[in-house]
């Protein structure tokens, strides 16, 4: 078991390195100098040179990569060109917001998905099953940024129950778990929860109905086990897969939050990413992508490690 964890950890290292490389290279894919964002086009040559060396842009690419990586490992992700603040600080505060949003959305989505999926699996072919199937297709097919707009229209503009944008007047720095603040979270979280809900419903439904048809369930019932006990057996069999899928969904939501955060102006990493792209703020862009991907890699690792704890069959060599 220990060797398994060690193997997964060691394996994650080259992946993480590759991710840093891709994050770094992505920004340099852009046609046009990164300098265009910093200096106006008609700046005198010596100013440009000075700026270049200040940002380390005059060194060869591999050196730039190495330096950036070295600093990143120590927690220094550079300075944002647009705001002048440390990238690490901006990303960190944004991560907290996105984590809150993604976490809440995942929780809701997974719970509802499990309940719906289990109900549908137990009552295959009935009305509940059909509703669950429809809901899961909807969940997977709906453009969530559009859903956010629609929910805003209904609950904010038409009914006026919830605020349309933002995270509260004090910003996320002063977050409290009271309705004053929570009301800002409702719509974005509800919007984002639809994605995991659709996928989890479908997964759970398929697994549960497959399990119920298996012979061991017939055997359990023949031995006189009550429905509650049978359900526990099924839950244990279904749990590892669901956990893996749910874990990945959290990562996906964290990384893919940009669209919903743009709709609701939620000050998370996605919103930050948006800003960085449009202001061509290279350090901010690199730093944000890096942190988000590291999160995803770490999450995958955790899921990989936890899986065999729950299901011993799943130790992948």
């Amino acid at each position: 078991m220990f060797f398994y964890i060690l193997k997964r950890l060691l394996y994650a290292v080259p992946i993480a390195l590759g991710v840093t490389l891709v994050s770094f290279m992505l920004v340099h894919l852009a046609p046009g100098d990164a300098l265009n964002a910093i200096a106006p086009a008609d700046a005198p040559a010596d100013v440009i040179e000075a700026l270049k060396s200040a940002y380390g842009l005059d060194r060869p690419l591999p050196v730039q990569y190495g330096l950036w990586l070295l600093r990143a490992v120590q927690g220094d992700l550079g300075t944002s060109i647009a705001s002048g603040r440390a990238v690490a600080g901006e990303v960190l505060s944004a991560v907290g917001n996105t984590l809150m949003l993604a976490g809440m959305a995942s929780l809701v989505g997974v719970l509802v998905g499990c309940v719906l999926g289990a109900l549908a699996g137990y009552r295959s072919g009935s009305a509940v099953d059909r509703i669950a199937t429809v809901l899961s297709v909807v969940g997977v097919s709906i453009p969530h940024y559009w859903l956010g707009l629609v929910l805003t229209i209904v609950f904010s503009i038409t009914l006026g129950w919830l605020p349309a944008m933002g995270a509260g007047s004090d910003g996320s720095a002063a977050w409290l778990w009271d309705w004053q603040h929570l009301q800002y979270l409702v719509l974005p979280a509800a919007t984002m929860s639809v994605i995991p809900m659709g996928i989890i419903t479908r997964t759970v439904r398929a697994l549960v109905s497959e399990m119920l048809n298996k012979e061991f369930v017939v055997a359990l019932r023949a031995r006189g086990l009550g429905e509650a006990a049978v359900f526990r057996h099924i839950a244990k069999n279904v749990a590892p897969t669901v956990m893996a899928v749910a874990g990945l969904q959290v990562g996906y939501l964290m990384g893919g939050s940009i669209l919903v955060e743009t709709v609701f102006s939620w000050p998370g990493t996605g919103f930050l990413l948006n800003t960085a792209i449009f202001q061509r703020d290279m350090p901010l862009l690199q730093g944000t992508i890096l942190v988000l991907c590291m999160f995803f890699v770490a999450l995958n690792l955790v899921v990989d490690i936890l899986q065999p704890l729950i299901d011993p069959r799943m130790v992948r060599a």
Partner: protein, 359 residues
């Protein structure tokens, strides 16, 4: 491609064994966890035998004894770790020997799983026609050949030719597999548990078909099975394997009538007899087979053998000729007067020179 049906290029003459296998070895590395690399499963560990033309060699043994691996090595679906093969006097894959593609025309195989052996996307006739077309036959001729073969294996081509594998029964599929193998006009046919998955009545039909085909086309068979009755019915020679090695080989009536190796004896007595006067009461073999990974020194069967002695634990027996019948060989210290086993025959009795069959 030589399209006329029965021209066999008999290069070596009737005395030349069609297939000679010398000291085949195949070890599979075990995917250990972090520190346990370097261990190997000794799937095939020094196997040598010869098959005469027109004969059927039956290979028997428990699951995991290496018979299927041997078959795949002979079929050249896998490369051996060491050892060589001679086909009708020509080395295979050597400088001046037969090229692999020509070799494929001489030796074909019928697999156990009749369903997995057939491409679900092709009709039965297309499957049979594929092989000859690879070797240059035109599509028209290949189709005609496919129809002829289907007829020969007892399936009406107009009715079955355009069917897909999932539309046939197990026995029908296996006939198709046989037809496909015959399409190459091979000289040696390897049948790897080919009838194992069929119902008994269907088995009988397929076995009879195989016998007829063998006589008609002067085929040689390598018949691998764990079913001793079937092997008895079909084979001229029988080879018994245990944990990757040959323990006994000889003419079928000798093996079934006077088996010399304790393992063979145990196998035979484990077969339920139809005769109520000879009921089996006790289990002849006890214990579990040892780990095929890094097997111990000495005879591999010694910990389950009722006749084992100290010598059996320390020294591995070699395959040696039995004094009373030169065609019968066994790898057991009981047969070797010089080995030091208490119950071995005396030196005078074993007057025949020791004939080792290894590289």
């Amino acid at each position: 491609m030589n399209t006329s049906p029965l021209i066999h290029q008999d290069r070596g003459g009737p005395k030349q064994a069609l297939l000679e296998v010398r000291d085949l070895k195949k070890y599979f590395p075990v995917r250990g966890s972090f520190g346990a690399a370097g261990k190997f499963v000794h799937a095939v560990d020094g196997v040598s035998f010869a098959v005469a033309k027109g004969q059927t060699l039956g290979i028997v043994g428990e699951s995991g004894c290496g018979k299927s691996t041997t078959a795949r090595l002979v079929a050249k679906l896998m490369a051996p770790d060491s050892g060589s093969m001679v086909f009708d006097g020509d080395g295979v894959d050597e400088f001046r020997g037969i090229a692999l593609k020509d070799f494929r025309r001489n030796l074909q195989m019928v697999f156990q799983d009749s369903f997995a052996s057939l491409n679900p996307r092709l009709t039965v006739a297309q499957t049979i026609a594929f092989g000859p077309q690879v070797h240059g036959m035109s599509a028209k001729d290949a189709e005609r050949l496919a129809r002829d073969l289907l007829m020969r294996v007892g399936m009406e081509p107009d009715q079955f030719g355009a069917r897909y594998p999932h539309e046939l029964s197990g026995g029908q599929r296996q006939r198709v597999n046989i037809a496909r193998a015959l399409a190459f006009d091979p000289r040696l046919l390897i049948l790897d548990e080919a009838v194992a998955a069929l119902d008994k009545s269907v088995q009988a039909q397929v076995l009879n078909l195989l016998q007829e085909l063998k006589a008609e086309r002067q085929l040689t068979y390598l018949f691998i099975s764990h079913d001793l009755h079937v092997v008895h019915y079909l084979s001229d020679q029988v080879m018994v394997m245990y944990l990757g090695q040959i323990v006994e080989i000889g003419p079928v009536e000798r093996i079934y009538g006077h088996a010399m190796h304790p393992y063979t004896q145990a196998l035979l007595s484990a077969v339920p007899s139809m005769d109520p006067a000879h009921r089996t009461m006790s289990s002849p073999i006890s214990g579990d087979p040892p780990n095929p990974i890094d097997p111990p020194a000495g005879c591999r069967f010694h910990d389950r053998c009722p006749k084992a002695q100290a010598i059996c634990q320390s020294q591995a027996p070699r395959l040696m000729v039995v004094a009373t019948d030169p065609a019968h060989q066994v790898a057991c210290h009981l047969n070797d007067p010089h080995a030091g086993h208490g119950n071995a025959p005396s030196v005078e009795y074993a007057a025949t020179a020791l004939n080792e069959v290894s590289a």
